[in-house]
């Protein structure tokens, strides 16, 4: 099963994402219907896209997410427990049995910032892991983190320590530190 003139992967991807004008999209359809090899490549792309969709729908992702994604998840019925953290403070948190996703909103001043890194720190605020170039919402001045509530670490009491950093060619500077104290017994009163 080979193709003498296989379609470029970018073209298949743009077609699948609905990003092509009608004429090139029609041409791709004509080719795919006549070519088992390219139909197979498009099927692989579709399988990847469908799995990304299902994993996202199930809340199976970690840490920083695009803020608008949380809005879409909520609109489609995922049960979300949200905590608004404050820089320099520890915010108590916990989840109820009906919750599916734990979301933390980290307010941050993003003026003049082009890239934000999220560092996960230990109890002495030493960096343990870094997520580089995380998505952020400049309009709402926030970075959003999300975690599925059935993650094993959420079964025990612990404190998640996070540091946001602005990164540019000249170096990096701290934008804020945040701590989320998780109680497995449930959400704090009023949360």
């Amino acid at each position: 099963m080979t193709c003498a003139a296989p379609l470029a992967f970018e073209a298949l991807l743009d077609y699948w994402a609905g990003e092509l004008p009608a004429a090139p999209a029609d041409a791709i359809e004509e080719h795919v219907f006549a070519c088992e090899a390219c139909a197979g490549r498009l099927a692989e792309l579709e399988a990847l896209a469908a799995s990304v969709r299902r994993l996202t729908e199930a809340g199976r992702f970690r840490a920083a997410v695009a803020p608008s994604l949380v809005d879409v998840l909520a609109a489609r019925g995922l049960r979300i427990r949200t905590f608004r953290l404050r820089a320099g403070e520890t915010t108590p948190c916990g989840t109820a049995p009906e919750d599916e996703l734990l979301v933390g909103r980290l307010p941050v001043d993003l003026r003049g910032v082009a890239r934000v890194d999220l560092a996960v720190c230990d109890e002495r605020w030493a960096e343990r892991e870094r997520l580089a170039d995380v998505p952020f919402d400049r309009r709402r001045s926030e970075v959003v983190i999300a975690e599925r509530v059935d993650q094993p670490e959420l079964r025990t009491a612990h404190v998640l320590r996070l540091r946001l950093l602005a990164v540019d060619p000249a170096g990096e500077r701290e934008l804020g530190t945040y701590a989320l104290a998780h109680d497995p017994r449930g959400p704090p009163d009023g949360a």
């Binding site: 296989p6 470029a8 992967f9 970018e10 991807l13 743009d14 077609y15 699948w16 994402a17 609905g18 990003e19 359809e29 004509e30 795919v32 219907f33 006549a34 088992e36 139909a39 197979g40 490549r41 498009l42 099927a43 692989e44 792309l45 579709e46 399988a47 990847l48 896209a49 469908a50 799995s51 990304v52 969709r53 299902r54 994993l55 996202t56 729908e57 199976r60 992702f61 970690r62 840490a63 920083a64 997410v65 695009a66 803020p67 608008s68 994604l69 879409v72 082009a114 999220l118 997520l131 580089a132 170039d133 995380v134 998505p135 919402d137 400049r138």
Partner: protein
């Protein structure tokens, strides 16, 4: 005498078995379905096996629902078989174009397609097109690990594209990229995912 015997023997021999339908090109396959007029189940099943995945992809792309795509597969394949059996396909060599045309028509007529589909199913029986088309199977746990391994911005672009169904312009506005950058990041992210899953290397 020997010649006469050979001729007589040849005359009485069973005709050679037809080649398996799977080995035929689209044109010969279509011709066989047409010649069989409903009797050549091997050719009809092969036509369904070959085109069901492509019709399903068309349905997913245009109708955006698994169930609607599955309905489209049935409706289109049964329509194509019906037209071939009736000798109504003038250019069997252009079978793929004919199937695509049937897809376009069926997708545009979906609102009034329920009665038509019921009629076709009644006439053909559910055995030809009802089977789930062959489709790639993915190890979802592995994919989850691969997805976690992407850069946060790559992951965000994939989630916003395939789950939130945002256009590249909208994603660009949220993530402070250009639409062109979004397409580049999306391509790179899928290439990383595909490589991580051990799939064939995609053409950059």
């Amino acid at each position: 005498m020997a010649r006469m015997f050979d001729a007589a023997y040849a005359f009485h021999m069973d005709p050679p078995a037809p080649p398996p339908a799977r080995s035929l090109g689209d044109g010969r396959l279509a011709a066989r379905v047409a010649a069989g007029a409903g009797a050549d189940r091997d050719a009809e099943r092969e036509l369904c096996r070959r085109f069901a995945p492509r019709v399903r992809l068309y349905g997913l792309r245009h109708l955006r629902e698994d169930s609607a795509a599955a309905d489209l597969v049935q409706e289109v394949l049964l329509t194509v078989l019906e037209r071939l059996r009736a000798g109504a396909v003038r250019e069997p060599d252009r079978l793929a174009s004919f199937v695509l045309g049937a897809c376009r028509l069926a997708a545009s007529e979906r609102r009034r397609g329920a009665a038509r589909r019921a009629e076709l199913l009644d006439r053909f029986g559910p055995d030809l097109a009802a089977r789930e088309p062959e489709r790639p199977r993915l190890d979802v746990e592995r994919l989850e690990r691969c997805l976690e391994g992407l850069a946060p911005r790559e992951r965000a672009v994939l989630q916003l594209t395939f789950y939130a169904e945002r256009a590249s312009g909208e994603i660009a506005a949220e993530l402070e990229l250009t639409p062109g950058n979004v397409r580049v990041v999306r391509h790179r992210a899928l290439a990383h995912l595909s490589a991580c899953m051990g799939a064939e290397e995609v053409t950059p």
